[in-house]
């Protein structure tokens, strides 16, 4: 009896190892046999995976279901991708640039003192239910956002009054001069909502529970169906003057990265959002897939506590030394698999105001050591504060530790809980700290004023606790005048100073990666609209 049994184990082991081998083989070998048949019938479920999706339907795989879709409530970029094209805004981002072009408003002007912005609406825009878009709707939208008092209301806290001058002219009276105001109107929070939403009001919620799951906008698309946990479906808005090529969009929820990859490979989906960087190499080899890569406006940087931390850090030479100690390319490679672009100054590439000619630090160990000697500093011991808010921070902290060790600086790693790290940062209880930043609207104000104005010490933005009177003067002036060219000049000058003084270590901008089927055309990446697809202009 025993002899017979002993053959079972080897054969079973063999089967298992074959399975394991099948796991590891590159997908490219197996994909050739699949034929493409249109995805029509449901009676033959086996055919669902041998197909290319129809030309008027776009299927995007997303990682997780969305929370609320109400533009006055959601601060989640994820929700934007669903709502952005269901609504229209007064102005819109222009193609791939972060500058704005006319949207619902065909023209606008701002008063001398910068306090009154007047917009003239273009005729012919209608909400999805046929109601025309009027100045009343604009007034209603912004008043609603301010009344609801959630995240987006902060962005518009500068609005004192919204006034209807005529059925198609609306004016915003601000409480102070705020040139970036125009840019805030192009963001998702500026989406114009159909006043008829009040018919769906429940318990005085101003329609929040209705708009959490529906759209009421004038954009080329509208929310057609939302099967929670499964997919969100958009169809076209019959009253929009834009007639897109893509009639139906499914945002399919596929939480598992490997499933997304397999589905992209099989042609069951057109765009896969959730594939992590480690798997991208394999995805790049797929014959029917293209991996797009662009620098995004999300930056990863280090705050150097320039006034409340270790006294040595008050000397710009020491901060410069730290800047010279870092091997930026190796860092990007180690932490982001190379999918990152080194920062050149605080204003990231892709945002207007970015200076391609600005100085960029690179690794120079000798120079770093020399600078430390000049500053009279030796055996410097400083700490680095961070949390597990970002998965890659652990690697980044260790990399920085080893870079600084080479110039004789001991970096003590201090990892704490996220909530604790925020408290400590606000109080300035650190020497160095890791951070990420991305802009709420497409204006260099989001970087220059937040990071460098000495009025913004702490979590508000100036997390380096940096104070320079000249920089203060420059950025505050740039926040006051409405001439973009002038502002750019001022920001450029300020940038030169802050690069030299290095209150932050400008590490890298994360790259935006998108695996997309080669059959999809017309996608234009806008850095302010990361993860949002210009559906109306795309086709297959």
């Amino acid at each position: 009896m025993k002899r017979r049994n002993s053959r079972f184990f080897p054969s079973l082991l063999l089967v298992l190892s074959l399975l394991a081998a099948a796991c590891n083989s590159t997908p490219a070998n197996q994909s050739q046999e699949q034929t493409s048949t249109p995805q029509e019938t449901a009676q033959t479920p086996a055919q669902t995976n041998t197909l290319s999706t129809p030309a008027d339907t776009l299927i995007v795989a997303i990682n997780a279901d969305q929370g609320t879709l109400d533009p006055a409530v959601t601060f989640d970029n994820g929700a934007w991708k669903i709502t952005y094209y269901a609504y229209e805004r007064l102005v819109e981002y222009d193609g791939a640039s972060t500058e704005v072009k006319p949207g619902l408003a065909k023209e606008w002007k701002v008063s001398e003192d910068g306090l009154t912005w007047t917009f003239t609406l273009e005729e012919g825009h209608k909400f999805a239910d046929g109601t025309p878009v009027t100045a009343e709707a604009v007034k209603f939208t912004f008043e609603r956002t301010l009344k609801i008092k959630k995240g987006p209301s902060d962005v518009y806290s500068v609005i004192k009054e919204v006034r209807v001058d005529s059925p198609n002219t609306v004016s915003f009276v601000l409480s102070q001069n705020f040139p970036p105001f125009l840019s805030t109107l192009a963001a998702n929070y500026g989406s114009i909502v159909n006043p008829k939403v009040m018919e769906h009001e429940v318990d005085g919620d101003l329609g929040q529970s209705y708009l959490a799951e529906h759209t009421m906008g004038s954009g080329p698309y509208q929310l057609d169906e939302w099967r929670k946990g499964e997919y969100i479906k958009l169809t076209t808005n019959p009253h929009s003057s834009i007639k897109p090529s893509i009639q139906t969009v499914y945002f399919r929820i596929v939480p598992d990265a490997t499933s997304q990859r397999l589905q992209l490979e099989q042609g069951e989906i057109d765009i896969a959002e959730g594939i992590p960087r480690e798997q991208l190499k394999a995805v790049k080899e797929l014959p029917n897939v293209e991996v797009l890569q662009y620098p995004s406006l999300s930056v990863d940087y280090v705050y150097v506590n320039s006034s409340k931390g270790h006294p040595a850090l008050q000397n710009p030479k020491v901060r410069q030394a730290l800047s010279y100690a870092i091997d930026y390319t190796a860092l990007a490679e180690a932490v982001q698999e190379g999918y990152a672009t080194q920062m050149r100054g605080p204003i990231p590439k892709g945002l207007w105001g970015h200076d391609e000619t600005a100085f960029q630090y690179s690794r120079d160990v000798e120079k770093a050591k020399a600078l430390l000697a000049e500053a009279g500093v030796s055996d410097l011991k400083i700490n680095l504060l961070y949390s597990d808010n970002k998965a890659w921070w652990e690697t980044e902290a260790l990399a920085l530790q080893s870079f600084f060790a080479e110039i004789g600086v001991t970096l003590e790693l201090k990892k704490v809980a996220y909530a604790t790290s925020r408290e400590m940062m606000d109080a300035g209880q650190f020497d160095l700290a890791l951070g990420v930043w991305s802009p709420d609207f497409g204006d260099p104000y989001m970087f220059m004023n937040y990071w460098f104005d000495s009025n913004n010490f702490g979590l508000a933005g100036n997390r380096a606790f940096y104070k320079n009177d000249k920089v203060d003067e420059l950025v505050r002036k740039a926040a006051q005048i409405n001439d973009q060219a002038e502002r750019e000049k001022l920001y450029r000058e300020a940038q030169k100073i802050v690069i030299e003084e290095a209150p932050y270590l400008y590490l890298y901008q994360m790259d935006f990666i998108l695996p997309i089927s080669k059959s999809v055309k017309g996608f234009v990446y806008n850095p302010m609209l990361e993860g949002i697809y210009n559906l109306a202009e795309m086709s297959k």
Binding site: D65, F75, K149, T258
Partner: protein, 334 residues
């Protein structure tokens, strides 16, 4: 009998009370602020406090607890912070999917596990026994994310037989909702397209989940059968000329099933908790994924609602298990 049920239901209330209190305190002690999650990193302090006020988070913990319990006894689980919808609505949407998956996996595990266990017991120490043991150990040791992905690789990618995600195709409308279980609903409404399609989608995730449960069932049945088969009354039956299927099923199995039911009941309870990994891999819109998303968002009402529901489920399952004991063996008394 009735007395026992009443007693158990009274205990149910106590258990639920204890669970809600513990969960509530735990979720409020964890650092993190759902209001902050809602308004974003750069919101002003004022807006943050306003949102906290709106959500009732500015009250002391015990006040919040009583407010919550007050709503709970009326059947109001509060609103999810993340989706802005009543938690009860969210749970009702997601629970049937998990229930369907759990039931299917459970069914497969039983249908394969019990015969396999009996076979292993009867053919003890032969090739059958070793194979079933190997199979069981493989099932319990293999991580679900591995077996699930391998399943997708083989059946979706290589063989092209089964779909890789979801409960039903995008283009197929689901059956009208009666129970929320697609298979049952499509049968009840005579919707064969939906039935076939949902069945196709259910097979792979259910088998993946069942594979892990199989081990428990098989081993337990085998052990119990062996014990029962060595009893004196079995020997007596054999001596009286009873053997084969009659002996196995009428005499031995009923007794062997008692410990099995306990074990299986507990494991079904944990299945109900929403096999998160399986649901994630197969994009199955169930409660497991829902609660993980809620935890990441620190969505207290959703977390509480889920915990409450699962605790309720567990206690009820235990009650059913105990009642089944009586059906199997009237000798068992409280």
């Amino acid at each position: 009998m009735r007395q026992i049920i009443v007693k158990r239901l009274a205990m149910l209330v106590l258990v639920l009370f204890g669970v809600t209190l513990t969960t509530f305190l735990l979720t409020h002690v964890i650092p993190g602020d759902p209001a902050r999650m809602m308004v974003g990193q750069r919101a002003s302090e004022e807006t943050l406090q306003e949102v906290r006020r709106q959500l009732g988070l500015d009250q002391p913990v015990w006040v919040q607890y009583f407010a919550y319990m007050g709503g709970l006894v009326k059947g109001d689980f509060g609103n999810s912070i993340r989706t802005q919808q009543p938690v009860i609505d969210d749970l009702v949407k997601f629970f049937p999917a998990t229930l369907e998956l759990a039931l299917a996996a459970f069914f497969i595990a039983l249908v394969i596990g019990i015969p396999l266990g009996i076979l292993a017991a009867v053919k003890k120490d032969t090739g059958w026994d070793h194979t079933s043991r190997f199979f069981s150990i493989a099932g319990i040791s293999t991580p679900v994310f591995w077996s699930g992905l391998v399943g997708i690789l083989v059946f979706y990618k290589i063989l092209g037989l089964l779909p890789s995600s979801g409960r039903i195709d995008l283009t197929v409308p689901p059956p009208d909702t009666i129970t929320g279980l697609y298979l049952l609903d499509s049968l009840l409404t005579g919707n064969w397209t939906a039935f076939a399609n949902s069945l196709w989608h259910l097979i792979l995730p259910a088998c993946t989940l069942a594979f892990a449960q199989l081990a428990t069932v098989t081993r337990q049945v085998r052990a119990s059968m062996l014990e029962v088969l060595s009893q004196d009354y079995i020997r007596t039956a054999l001596a009286n000329g009873i053997h084969g299927p009659v002996l196995l099923f009428r005499y031995a199995l009923r007794n062997a099933l008692i410990p099995t039911i306990t074990v299986v009941g507990l494991s079904f309870g944990s299945l109900l908790g929403g096999a998160v990994v399986t649901e994630t891999i197969f994009s199955w819109p169930g409660m497991g994924k829902y609660v993980v998303d809620s935890i990441a968002f620190l969505d207290f009402p959703a977390i509480m609602g889920f915990t409450f529901l699962i605790s309720l489920g567990y206690v009820l399952i235990n009650l059913i298990v105990d009642l089944t004991y009586y059906a199997l063996d009237p000798q068992i008394k409280e």
